[in-house]
Symmetry: C2
Subunit: 354 residues, 2 copies
DNA sequence: CTGAAAGCGCTTACAG
DNA sequence: CTGAAAGCGCTTACAG
């Protein structure tokens, strides 16, 4: 393949000038730039990323770490982040933890990411103290999405999970429900970490605000997935008298709950109302009421906040200034909290609405 | 950060020996290897990918191109491919085309991938002649998943879409349906390309085999998505007397169809049966009958077939020999066709089964 | 089994 | 605005 020397020779300039012209640096005369661009095009020259990275010290690459790309929220975040990153000229290295602890360690604890990327985006990734130490040693800019993985010095984009859960529970209370169950993520689950804790807190807060003491027998833990929702709901039903409503910690669990209820011969919403959190693509098809969160926007905004200090690769500044999150005392930016909204569909109704 | 010289000095060997020892080359004595490994660990040495790639000529990276990571099939394929690739020591560069023609051109037609990756995995990516020319010039090993994107010399992993569609349609015929509609992908849709053509062909073949002449008014095109299924079904219902059954070209379209039928006051399956193709995660929750395809296995197998000629990065050979697809006359390997299976749920029943 | 040295293909001070 | 030269940090023949 053609190298930078070939272009330089054809354009009659030095390789340094080719390098500058091709990257759009301002210190090249218009005439020279044109000649270089023409030569590069004629030779179908493409810069060698390895050489460029080694010499320049920047990789033009970002690592995006997600628990499971097959889940709605993570796929949606990645899609939006990908668009922004590639638009800015960055490559996206995908790491799917898949709940495998050893993979997490390989990605986060070894110096694997060292010199491989210019920045890291951690989506809902549970972080242990050892991970934080390793990340700090990497000394790379990063950003987290979703609560739970706070890295000192990194900005964070997320929703207010406590408030979202409160809103979901309050919707059920407003409909007249008193016996409201909660189906949520397991603390042992690598994927759920603190998100489910926040959502449980919101659930309990809303109940207490309505004068109801949370009933532990109505609070079941399982995995943060369709299957987890099914299992948790089956367990709930096995415990005795069913609740009149279920607040599931995410839409996928809610869908699993609906499935389990149907299998048990209970109708939604006539016998049991169900609400989730997310705004999943398929919530509409299933008639699932939910607290919708802006997943794509979180991905896009996170990509942007990550790149802001790195600078675009393409030269162009990003359209419109991103709101740089204000920093707290210790220099850690304040989390950027995006709004959620209640979407009422057919899965929620007043109790006993036969 | 520590460089290879630091390790060499500490271990009392040359950098060449460090390089060999760390990569597990056999030409290093056990004692030396141990000393090098100890030194590397003590210094927390991590090789610089850029330098290694530039010197070695291999990137240890694979590009995975998908139409939309948010769709079930693509996310599932990527998840499985990711696991295999990372397990073999390769990085995964994700490209999400997102239906944007200009993105496809930037990825496939420019020499963007040149020197950036060692191999390319194209998942259901529509390829124009100009794309094929560009890919050939890249001169990289590659693999395609899903029919439609045949690249000369590249192996292909897929299902038999015609047979899958035949099986779906036959299931409806076997139940006694005669008025069977088809809801499928639009030829203008960048994402669907030939998959929907094959599935339509299977639909028609099954009808004809049953002595039924395909009725164009029962064949509606739309996008290969939930929304597309909804729109197509609404259009179908607007045309007059509804069919007694719908074969949707994928599960997401089938889900959209179910949603549209419900909105029109029609019950599934009492008034209209619905079947899809995929085996989507949520098919069970929705009670959707489908022709299930092994998506994860396609991703895993494709990753493996792609890496086989490249050799693992970690040194270990892959467990068990992959079945190398036999080549045709022109050297293009025969496609590897994976099996599908009919999964009957509640969305299909005999017509008029009130 | 090991080392000295060249070279991978760029970018970046530095000098002009 | 432009060029000569050093250097980025490895790997790979080559020689021993």
């Amino acid at each position: 393949m053609t190298r930078i020397d070939d272009v330089a020779r054809l354009a009659g300039v030095s390789t340094a000038t080719v390098s500058r012209a091709l990257r759009g640096l301002p210190t090249v005369s218009a005439a020279t730039r044109l000649r270089v661009l023409a030569a590069a095009e004629q030779l179908e020259y493409a810069v060698s990323p390895s050489a460029s990275r080694l010499a320049g010290g920047r990789t033009g690459t970002v690592a995006v770490v997600v628990p499971r790309i097959t889940r709605w929220f993570f796929a949606t975040v990645v899609e939006a982040a990908e668009e922004f990153l590639h638009g800015a000229g960055y490559d996206l290295l995908l790491y799917n933890l898949g709940g495998r602890e050893q993979v997490r360690q390989r990605v986060l604890r070894t110096a694997n990411l060292h010199k491989r990327v210019d920045g890291i985006m951690l989506v809902a990734t549970p972080l242990r103290p050892a991970d934080l130490t390793a990340l700090a040693r990497l000394d790379l800019p990063g950003i987290t999405i979703s609560s739970g993985s706070h890295v000192p010095g990194w900005p964070c984009v997320r929703i207010d999970d406590v408030a979202a859960a409160r809103a979901a529970t309050r919707h059920l209370l407003d409909l007249g429900h008193r016996r409201i169950a909660h189906v949520s993520g397991d603390p042992e689950d690598e994927l759920a970490f603190t998100t489910h804790l926040d959502r449980r807190r919101g659930y309990r807060e809303a109940l207490r605000a309505a004068g109801i003491t949370p009933d532990p027998s109505l609070d079941v833990e399982s995995q943060f997935s369709i299957c987890g929702g099914t299992r948790a709901t089956a367990e709930l039903l096995a415990r005795g008298e069913p609740p009149t409503a279920i607040f599931a910690a995410c839409d996928e669990m809610a869908m699993g709950a609906i499935s389990a209820l149907r299998d048990a011969g209970l109708r939604v919403p006539q016998d049991v109302s169900v609400i989730g959190v997310d705004g999943h693509d398929l919530a509409g098809v299933l008639g699932l009421s939910t607290i919708a969160q802006p997943a794509a926007e979180q991905g896009r905004l996170a990509a942007r906040l990550l790149l802001d200090p790195l600078g675009g690769c393409g030269g162009e500044p990003f359209p419109g200034p991103a709101q740089p999150p204000r920093a707290d005392g210790d220099g850690t930016p304040r989390p950027v909290i995006l709004p959620t909204r209640l979407v009422v569909r057919e899965s929620t109704a007043p109790p006993g609405a036969h």
